[in-house]
Symmetry: none
Subunit: 409 residues, 2 copies
């Protein structure tokens, strides 16, 4: 069952606003089993609205539109739909009354431009908007059902859930099931190679990839003749994918890498202290943007200057002078120091060169030393990481969190 999402507004085509409505609607439609084949953003221009609707009605069973229902002269959606349908606009008394009452409630007087929000294409079904002045409406283009909603996200979301979903749910096929697995550790091409043959081994299954640096999300989508069949197919294929990627899958759906690491620490009852340098606070930020980090995180010392490494952490100046601040010796010393000072079970440190300057032949930009200190001792790891400054910092933070997770498990 194919559908399309249309977002109308010149503020969108000019890029003044990131269009979050489209992704939200597409995810909602996918969740109930529709296949969204196209999202279109067009400007407030009647002929383009009309031609887009006519075109999409030939390829989609459902069209969901947002925007252009406001009171100003550039809000043209109702007019364009009336034109596409070959009908006139008709003022709806109940909607007009609703708008007037909303204005009175806020001590204001309804203007003529607001009254325009009660005009709908003749024959349209009106979709009430309990939290705004812009009611929505629905019309048919032949076999295609089209819905028009306001662009204000919270009004649109409520209208979609309360008015649109009940009208289209029965049209959706129940035969699609999807699982999303989250991976970190190898590039997209390697993930793809490892999964070569999965689609062939499980007919009806499609494997999709989404790169969100430095993660690769793997989607296992199964279609069957019934929901039970699709579910069984998805489970079998997912088990196959999990077996092939067992070393790099860290979670699923909306898990985050730092969230999973934090969960592991919490479950094992371990406390963590961090001493970071080139990542400048990113490791701490990733762990603390999730609620509940206070269960395990004691401290994160961003020892950016050498003086901070010596003064705050007590790293020996001679070690820094002898081996350089980016060295396994300094990494080990930082981890041991922050563990001793904080009393944490696990201490993590990293020191490296994020660039763009500061690299040498011996230690080029991207060189990072990691150390983990526990009661059992200290282990150090060196990595050469690719990318620009923010990529190197991000990869370094992921590698660091991976090491914590390994030590914790």
């Amino acid at each position: 069952m194919t559908c399309a999402v249309v977002c109308i507004g010149t503020e969108l085509t000019r890029g003044e606003l990131v269009n979050t409505n489209a992704a939200w609607l597409a995810a909602g439609l996918t969740d109930i089993g529709f296949e969204v084949v196209e999202d279109v953003v067009i400007d407030d221009f009647t002929p383009r609205i009309t031609s887009t609707l006519m075109r999409l009605s030939r390829v989609s069973k459902v069209i969901v539109c947002t925007g252009g229902l406001g009171p100003t002269t550039d809000d043209l959606t109702a007019e364009a739909v009336a034109e596409a349908q070959g009908v006139k606009l008709v003022r709806d008394a109940a909607s007009l009354d609703h708008i007037r009452r909303r204005f009175e409630k806020h001590g204001r007087i309804m203007s003529d431009s607001n009254a325009k929000q009660a005009d709908f294409p003749e024959g349209a079904e009106i979709l009430p908007n309990p939290i705004g002045t812009a009611a929505g409406f629905s019309v048919r283009f032949g076999e295609t059902l089209a819905f028009f909603m306001p662009g204000v996200p919270h009004e649109m979301k409520r209208m979609f859930e309360e008015q649109v979903v009940p009208r289209i749910r029965a049209l959706a096929p129940a035969d699609m099931v999807q699982v999303r697995l989250r991976t970190f550790g190898v590039p997209e091409s390697v993930v793809g190679e490892r999964l070569a043959g999965v689609e062939a081994a499980h007919p009806g299954v499609i494997i999709g990839y989404r790169a969100h640096f430095p993660e690769i999300e793997v989607k296992v989508l199964a279609r069957g003749t019934s929901n039970a069949e699709a579910r069984a197919l998805c489970e079998a294929a997912t088990a196959d994918v999990r077996a092939r990627l067992s070393d790099i899958i860290y979670g699923e759906a909306d898990d985050t890498f730092a969230g999973v690491v934090g969960r592991t620490l919490r479950q094992k009852g371990q406390t963590l202290a961090i001493a970071e340098s080139c990542t400048g606070g990113l490791v701490g930020h990733m762990l603390t943007r999730e609620p509940g980090a206070s269960d395990f995180l004691l401290v994160d010392v961003v020892a950016y200057a050498n003086s901070a490494k010596t003064r705050l952490l007590g790293v020996d100046e001679d070690v820094i002078r002898g081996h350089g601040p980016v060295s396994s010796e300094v990494a080990a010393s930082m981890a041991e120091a922050v563990r001793r000072i904080s009393g944490a079970d696990i201490a993590l440190s990293l020191t490296g060169i994020a660039g763009p300057s500061g690299g040498t032949d011996d230690r080029p930009v991207g060189t990072v030393f990691f150390a983990v200190a526990t009661a059992k001792g200290t282990t150090v790891k060196e990595r050469k990481l690719p990318g620009d400054r923010l990529q190197i910092q991000t990869l370094a933070a992921y590698v660091a969190l991976s090491l914590v997770r390994q030590h914790c498990e």
Copy 2:
């Protein structure tokens, strides 16, 4: 001069990802004078890619596409373009060599699936990608110039700026000039009210707004009959806007707030030490994602647990017990301690409740205390910040950096 943006990827049509590329490209194209009339998102499906390109080439002079250039089987853009052009795919030796060398540099072996990224429609002009394996390309559909770039945002952005803009700039009308001003401090509606009347006072000027939490970008776009006229108009209107927003404008174009604060510290020759708590490293991360932070940043102690506040910073346990960890007394003590230990000129601290739990009647979620300690003494500030956890953390980091900037200037 009309153009269209096409983003290709089933992860987008399914709403798994908010499409930030479209808005970024639309804003970039608008900036150089193009009128973006349509943004389309379509799935990884060859016939739809082909028909969309054919359709848009009839209404746009320029088409800019992203996505579908990766190494996996669902990356179909080059194939679809070849089909639309009626040509075959041809392997490009230079691109293949570039990919192989990237793999070798990272000690890995190029697979067949990666080699596929060196296949382009015959006759296409190849657009190099210095920071990734997916090169872009450009073809003509009749009079229309079409560009194909990877979907990974930082690769796409660099390719757009270095490869696409130089090829299309001459096509853009020269009679449009735009200035972007970056603000932080008041909400969009207040910025709008302060700028009421600017458009009327400067005919030919359009004021645009773009909210990127917690910043509001203000665009002053002027059109004239010549570039000189548009430039003069834009300058006059920008001076008016600057006068009305002088207290909240921090920079322009691609300035970042932390970058501007860092620049101020560098210019004044001041060093900075930070002690943060509820922001968990975000202030340090914001300052250090820009190169050159080592010029001024000495240390950032993320004293997340109370024990870290006492052990590392030497905050008096009685002060924490008596006033609570989220208090002006603890904020002041943290700033003074980190200044003393690090020897920095300016020390910043913040301690607060980012939520979702931990709030009390007296100190609800969003309560944050800030302190700045210098040789002249310590000042403390309390703020109640709105939003969810990440919004409170982000706002707190911005407020903290604002205080540093004020003290530095």
